[in-house]
Amino acid sequence: MFTATVTLSLLAILFGLILGYAAVRFKIDSDPVVDQIDAILPQTQCGQCSYPGCHPYAEAISNGEADINRCPPGGEATIQALADLLGVDPKPLDPEAGEVKPEKLVAIIDEQTCIGCTLCIQACPVDAILGAAKQMHTIIESECTGCELCLPPCPVDCILMVPVKQSANHWKWPFPQPSAGLNEGGNL
């Protein structure tokens, strides 16, 4: 009885030491989890998650304050990636946060109507709007994340959301259509 206890204790201590040594010796420096989460988020900075930008949302997720399903621009793919990263189950998008848009939109300014009030410039989270007071503003299309934060401040409603122009260079092959006979379900 005594021998067994001692042996087991010694073994426990030995393995504890080995594990402790391994933990130090083979330590992997990884990005802080906030940065990893932030890297997954689409960086539209739209605030639909109710946090003022993607990084604050990432912080909230890592603190356990926010759920992973509050990012409409990222959609299902982002939720899946977050779930994989954090080891939790993916869940459907929180309808409170908004809906997934079928295609990527960017803002354009109707330059005839714009009065040059600079309110949209102040609202843009990525400085994608150019212009000065009393001068027509314009949006750098390539920098626009489509967050729509510039829409509410505009006093004359001169900002429109339009689909991103498709270019042959950036065109994507669609997923192959399953033809009859393939085990894809539904088609009896």
């Binding site: 960086q43 990084h55 920098e143 042959a168 260079n169 065109w171 092959w173």
Partner: protein, 528 residues
């Protein structure tokens, strides 16, 4: 004679396909009657679209530049005939998406009047830079199908010595005969182009490779070579096997070397160009003619007289099909390129572009149904890139894009051998194309997100700075007000401050004498 028995190598896989080539090589290439309207897309090459330099209403001469290259990977575009620019608008292009691309519409005046051309008298006296510039300005892109701007592939940079220049005349895909026909009809141009390119590259040797199903092309080139009295180019017959015309496969066959996976042929000192590109280079240097027309194969079971046609860039496909004659009363499918790697087009009214080598009009056939993959491994057996197509399929289908890349998706040349042999009739190449474009899109999105993040962080920083400055100003102002108030009731303090200020002034003056630099340095700081 160059018909030496040289050692050739073999690559893995490949297919022996029915050729269907002889149906379109029975006659001389015909010249297409000048179309009235030419629609000339600005994107006919890999890279950035060209930028128009003409306006609607402008009159242009044949060969005049109408759009300039924008950026390094781009090519200028020239007027294929003389006439008037009638429209500059986004119009559909012969691309699988049939998306609209900025296009210049030229109405021909029927004169076909050339602009001034500036040939290079003797290319042997020209520098590599001069030749490259001229080839760039002539808008020459790879005519084998890829459409990569050729001048870049003539600029190996200082770190690479070019051992071998290979001209690819393999033309391994069924039905296509435009290179074959060109080799038969203009062997001198190809040889001259080869010499010019070799001169520009300082390549040690030059090989022209032709599949052994084109003996006429071989003998035409061979005759031209002996007539030229030079023996500087090796003509090599390679065994007919699809896809030997693939750059990497051809290099393996000729040299036994394999260009590194996801690397360039340059890395092993080899540059490969198409024979038609060589002819275009010869035209650009010797005649000063830009790339404004090409030889196109019009063939297929639904064409009455399959043949090769020399047509200006921008000519409607329909006119070429009509010229060769369409079988009436058949439901047809139009394919640009060959049956293995081509692109199906729904509209015959699209223009031919610099890379259009062949149009195949076939009776429409219903697609065979797809069955589940039984992992028979036939696809891996025929894959010339030695990939595992069934694994790529599996992961593409599951949209596991990291896995697909682990299985080297980007080494896939989309030759279609795997789909061809698949007993389950799975559209494997479609899955790979889907996965490739999806991976690229994800990369672009990632890039975009990174830019947005940086811009957002920069904005936050700036806002913070503005806030900080504002707060600082407020604090200073408050302090100043306080000082003024304090001065009224406390003369002792005032005296002390005065004394301090005097001291500071004295010090400042002393410093000013010492060094004006430090004074000017402190200037902006005090403003903060």
């Amino acid at each position: 004679m160059n018909k030496i028995n040289r050692k050739l190598w073999k690559y893995h896989g490949g297919l022996h396909l029915e050729e269907h080539k002889s149906i379109s090589t029975g006659q001389q290439s015909a010249l297409l009657p000048l179309p009235k309207r030419l629609t000339i897309p600005m994107q006919q090459h890999i890279g950035e679209a060209a930028h128009p330099i003409v306006d609607v209403g402008d009159k242009v001469l044949k060969g005049e530049m109408i759009a300039e290259a924008s950026g390094k990977v781009s090519a200028p575009i020239h007027a294929p005939t003389s006439g008037t620019i009638v429209e500059i608008a986004a119009l559909p292009v012969p691309h699988p998406s049939e998306l609209n691309v900025l296009t210049i519409v030229l109405e021909s005046d029927g004169q076909d009047q050339w602009c001034e051309r500036y040939p290079i008298e003797n290319y042997r006296h020209a520098s590599s830079e001069q030749l490259r510039e001229r080839i760039h300005d002539a808008g020459i892109v790879g005519l084998g199908g890829a459409g990569f701007p050729s001048y870049i592939k003539l600029n190996p940079g200082q770190h690479f010595a070019i051992e071998t220049l290979i001209l690819n005349g393999a033309e391994c895909e069924p039905y296509i005969t435009c290179d074959d026909q060109l080799m038969r009809e203009r062997p001198e141009a190809i040889l001259n182009g080869a010499r010019i390119m070799r001169h520009a590259l300082h390549a040690k040797r030059c090989i022209i490779a032709i599949e052994d199903n084109k003996p006429d092309a071989f003998s035409a080139l061979n005759n031209a070579l002996s007539q030229s009295g030079q023996n500087d180019i090796e003509l090599v017959m390679v065994p007919t096997l699809y896809p030997t015309g693939g750059e990497r496969q051809l290099i393996k066959v000729l040299t036994g070397k394999e260009p590194p996976s996801q690397g360039r042929t340059l890395d092993i000192g080899i540059i490969c160009h198409n024979v038609a590109t060589a002819a275009a280079v010869a035209d650009a240097i010797i005649d000063g003619t830009p790339l404004i027309s090409r030889i196109v194969t019009i063939t297929g079971e639904a064409i009455s007289t399959p043949q090769n046609i020399i047509a200006p860039v921008g000519a409607p496909i329909e006119e070429l099909l009509d010229f060769a004659g369409r079988e009436s009363g058949v439901n047809t499918q139009l394919i640009m390129g060959g049956p293995m790697m081509g692109v199906s087009l729904s509209n015959t009214n699209l223009p031919i572009v610099k890379t259009s080598n062949c149009f195949l009009l076939q009776p429409a056939e219903p697609t065979k149904p797809e069955s589940p993959c039984i992992r028979c491994g036939e696809c891996a057996r025929v894959c010339p890139a030695e990939l595992l197509p069934q694994q790529l399929y599996w992961h593409s289908r599951a949209k596991e894009f990291e896995k697909v890349q682990e299985y080297n998706l980007f080494d896939c040349i989309e030759c279609g051998c795997c789909s061809w042999v698949c007993p389950s009739n799975i559209p494997l190449v479609h899955y790979y194309r889907f996965a490739k474009t999806e991976v690229w899109a994800q990369e672009r999105e990632k890039e975009g997100a990174n830019i947005a993040r940086r811009r957002h962080e920069f904005r936050l920083e700036r806002q913070e700075k503005v806030e900080r400055e504002k707060a600082e100003r407020m604090r200073k102002k408050k302090a100043m007000l306080k000082d003024k108030e304090g001065a009224k009731d406390d003369t002792a303090k005032k005296a002390a401050i005065q004394a301090a200020m005097d001291r500071a002034k004295a010090k400042r003056e002393a410093n000013q004498v010492d060094s004006t630099i430090s004074a000017s340095d402190s200037q902006p700081k005090s403003e903060l």
